[in-house]
């Protein structure tokens, strides 16, 4: 598994090739298409992330060491955003996820999307993933 840092660097590098907003969005949309399908049973209110205008569902497995995220959305762009986060955070230890500074979001021009007032829900997604990490960390310790 690559380090979180390395994954962020890779994404930044990918994005650096695009000048145009449209190319960036197409990359994000493509990203969404690479997400593994989410089992239907997780597409329920319990797994829904609020604060996005579209629906986003997030589920997290824990293998005792690392957390594996699974997600889906009914909108392409939202799905791409959550896919980016899954790519960066999935497969890492709770502590690493809790501590992470997601600097790649600023670097690829999504910094302002991180504001909790934005309708895209990016801030809620990050928060939800960190909440899972916190929960699993507690589990691990106890």
């Amino acid at each position: 598994m690559e380090t979180i840092d390395k994954i962020q660097q890779d994404i930044i590098e990918d994005f650096s090739m695009y000048e145009d907003w449209a190319d960036k969005y197409e990359y994000i949309i493509e990203m969404g298409k690479t997400l593994a399908p989410l089992e239907e049973k997780y597409k329920t209110e319990d797994y829904r992330i609020h604060g996005c205008q579209s629906q986003v569902w997030l589920h997290a497995d824990f293998d005792g060491k690392n957390i594996h995220f699974h997600a889906d959305s009914d909108a392409f762009i939202t799905k791409g955003l959550i896919a980016l986060l899954v790519k960066v955070l999935s497969g890492h230890a709770p502590k690493a996820i809790i501590d992470i500074d997601l600097y790649f979001l600023s670097e690829i021009g999504l910094k302002e999307h991180l504001s909790p007032t934005r309708a895209n829900g990016l801030a809620s997604m990050v928060k939800q993933m960190k909440t899972y990490a916190l929960a699993y960390q507690t589990k691990q310790v106890s």
Binding site: W21, A22, Y25, E26, I29, C52, Q53, S54, Q55, D74, A75, F76, I77, T78, A119, N120
Partner: protein, 416 residues
């Protein structure tokens, strides 16, 4: 469609001159010239509205009513002047019938609280429609929980209209009040308000009209309509935020208890006995949004200068053009196809999520609204999560509709 005030027809409609008055139309979004198509959410403001605010604060400001000093008297005069203008604009019988509010929502809540306390009890009924804005649903639900009346709902047809027969069949001897929008913010539908009021009155039922989407689109004569209560928001009619008007028939307003208590709405206060002020002050508690109301007068002046003949004609022209243009896109589905509509087009583009479409358009400088537009029951009725909504103003051009059209083609391409 609507009868217009023929006294105010300017000879030609110069959209460039109109656009000149709106500073924001010269700005860019993501580096592209702004195409503002979110007018049903709120309209932009002409320069005169901003200038009035600045002038008022720079030269004339003080708290109003009952002040002896000059600034307070000037402020009172400006404030009351807007009231006279509002009276004239809505063709009310008296300025006592014009209450300033924070907006449509505040106006509906005011009536809902006062009316429900005074008149509604268990067994009584009120009628709403399935196309109401949340602001004309939730207040009634909150008060229903307290006073125990029933809420009946006029169902929506497939084209986004209501049937007058459906309404008639809901009217019973228990029906105390109908509260209904003049024009739907999500669908653009113009409701048959005249007939609704007539039938309601024949049944001894009061009518509250939510005119938030109507006041800047069609001329309103509250006396000709014989409406009992009517509410609207300043910010949707080219005026400032935090302002609104509640019209009520004098006798009805007299009969209602006050809503909020505080400064200005009283005649005499003691811990033993408090008496309330005369209309309209009885319903205006506390220091009002003075600067907002003073500037609202400029919105009326702007609308007067354009005139409803022009407002209606331009709106219909843009609406037809936009409808035709959008329908030429493959997979386009327009939600709300009433024969009588104003410049609001709600649509879905194939299976695309409105959010995705909205984001792509935004990156092209085009502002539309996406989502449920505070009308979830409409979305439930049509089984959709939301729509894209383009809504037009007096400054909207055909070129902007072309931009929307091209933007949608682009979005379609990017998203599939």
């Amino acid at each position: 469609m609507v009868n217009t005030n023929i006294n105010m027809v300017p000879t030609t409609f110069d959209i460039t001159a109109i656009r000149e008055q709106f500073p924001i139309l010269k700005t860019t979004i993501h580096g592209k010239p702004i195409v503002y198509l979110d007018n049903a959410a709120s309209t932009q403001k002409p320069l005169r509205v901003m200038e009035a605010t600045t002038k008022y604060y720079s030269e004339q400001y003080a708290n109003i009513h009952r002040g002896v000093h000059t600034l307070s008297q000037i402020g009172t005069e400006l404030y009351e002047n807007t009231r006279l203008h509002a009276q004239q604009f809505l063709h009310a019988r008296s300025e006592k019938e014009i209450i300033f509010t924070k907006g449509t929502t505040h106006g509906i809540n005011l009536i809902a609280y006062s009316y429900a306390y005074q008149y509604l009890k268990s067994g009584d009924e009120i009628i709403l429609s399935e196309m109401e804005h949340h602001s004309n649903i939730v207040p009634w639900q909150i008060l229903q929980a307290r006073h125990g009346f029933d809420i009946k709902v006029i169902p929506l047809q497939d084209n986004g209209t209501i049937e007058i027969e459906d309404f008639a069949s809901l009217l019973t001897e228990k029906t105390k009040l109908v509260s209904i929008s003049y024009i739907s913010n999500a669908l653009g539908t113009v409701n048959p308000i005249r007939e609704i009021i007539q039938l309601a009155h024949e049944n001894g039922t009061h009518v509250l009209v939510d005119a938030a989407q109507a006041v800047h689109h069609i001329p309103i004569d509250v006396q000709a309509l014989d409406v009992d209560f009517l509410v609207c928001s300043g910010h949707k009619m080219y005026g400032p935020t935090g302002t609104g008007i509640l019209y009520g028939k004098e006798s009805l307003l007299e009969a209602l208890p006050p809503f909020e208590g505080g400064g200005d709405m009283i005649k005499q206060v003691s811990f033993k006995k408090t008496t309330f002020n005369d209309l309209p002050f009885k319903f205006e508690a506390g220091t009002p949004n003075i600067a907002g109301i003073v500037a609202l007068d400029e919105a009326f002046k702007f609308l007067d200068a354009v005139g409803f003949e022009q407002l209606v004609q331009h709106d219909q022209e843009i609406l037809s053009y936009a409808t035709e243009k959008l329908l030429s896109i493959d997979g386009m589905r327009i939600i709300g196809t009433a024969p009588e509509k104003v410049g609001v087009v709600s649509f879905l583009l194939g299976n695309l999520h409105p959010y995705d479409v909205g984001v792509i358009l935004d990156n092209l400088g085009i502002a539309i609204r996406t989502g449920h537009h505070c009308t979830q029951p409409i979305m439930d009725r049509f089984g959709i999560p939301g729509t894209c909504r383009a809504s037009f103003g007096i400054y909207t051009t055909k070129e902007e509709i072309d931009s929307l059209y091209n933007g949608l083609l682009r979005a379609k391409k990017m998203l599939s």
